[in-house]
Amino acid sequence: MDPNAIVNLALIALNGVLSLINSIKGQSGLTDDAILAQAQQVTAGNDAAYQQLVAGLNGAVINVTPTSVTSTPPAPKV
């Protein structure tokens, strides 16, 4: 997959995590246990986003690495 597409997936995943966080903050009267469970969901979301982010960025690093010239030039004709 295109590294940029993977990076975009990471961004989507992170936006999902941030939406979850905003959702948690928007709920009043949550029990401590519920906050704990949702915090664990956020950390799991962070894990997934990180994996995608690194996969995408690693692809970007590989893409900008100059390719080495391995073929030898033809011998001059005499």
Partner: protein, 146 residues
């Protein structure tokens, strides 16, 4: 982005301090949730800086590595807090959880990961990281040994 990050960095310690110590379990859980929030903000910031060309992809991978390290530490912390609660809120257990978490976050070998060449980007990332650690230190004090 700068003002939002500053707000995150300042509000995490404040929120942790206010949540204080009448309810050590609740305060500890909220601290873990706030750090998870900070990690998400940190990852998104790193990605934004890379996409703007302010930091290289290699620097972004490295800095994201610190935030993932912090996230794993947060998972362990939340588990510790959950266990402390299940074991009847014995004195000192929440403090031990947060002390261990804070020590882990301040591991110099991991903090090296957030180093980037661009001074402004470096400041931005450092502000978020400092916000996490400062918040935990504030809560540790507020817990008063609970």
């Amino acid at each position: 982005m700068g003002r939002r990050l500053l707000a995150v960095a300042l509000l995490i310690p404040l929120a942790l301090l206010i949540s204080g110590c009448k309810d050590p379990y609740g305060a500890s859980v909220k601290a873990g949730a706030d750090v998870a929030d900070g990690v998400a903000q940190g990852l998104k910031t790193v990605l934004s800086l890379q996409q703007q060309g302010t930091i290289t992809s290699a620097e972004a991978i490295s800095a994201a590595g610190y935030f993932e390290f912090a996230n794993k530490a947060d998972e362990a912390y939340l588990s510790c807090v959950s266990t402390a609660h299940a074991n009847g809120n014995k004195p000192g257990t929440y403090t031990a959880c947060i002390q261990s978490f804070n020590t882990t976050l301040n591991n110099p070998q991991q903090l090296v990961l957030i180093h980037v060449k661009d001074a402004s980007a470096s400041q931005t990332i450092t502000t978020i990281v400092n916000g996490l650690a400062t918040g935990l230190t504030s809560l540790q004090t507020a817990l008063g040994g609970a």
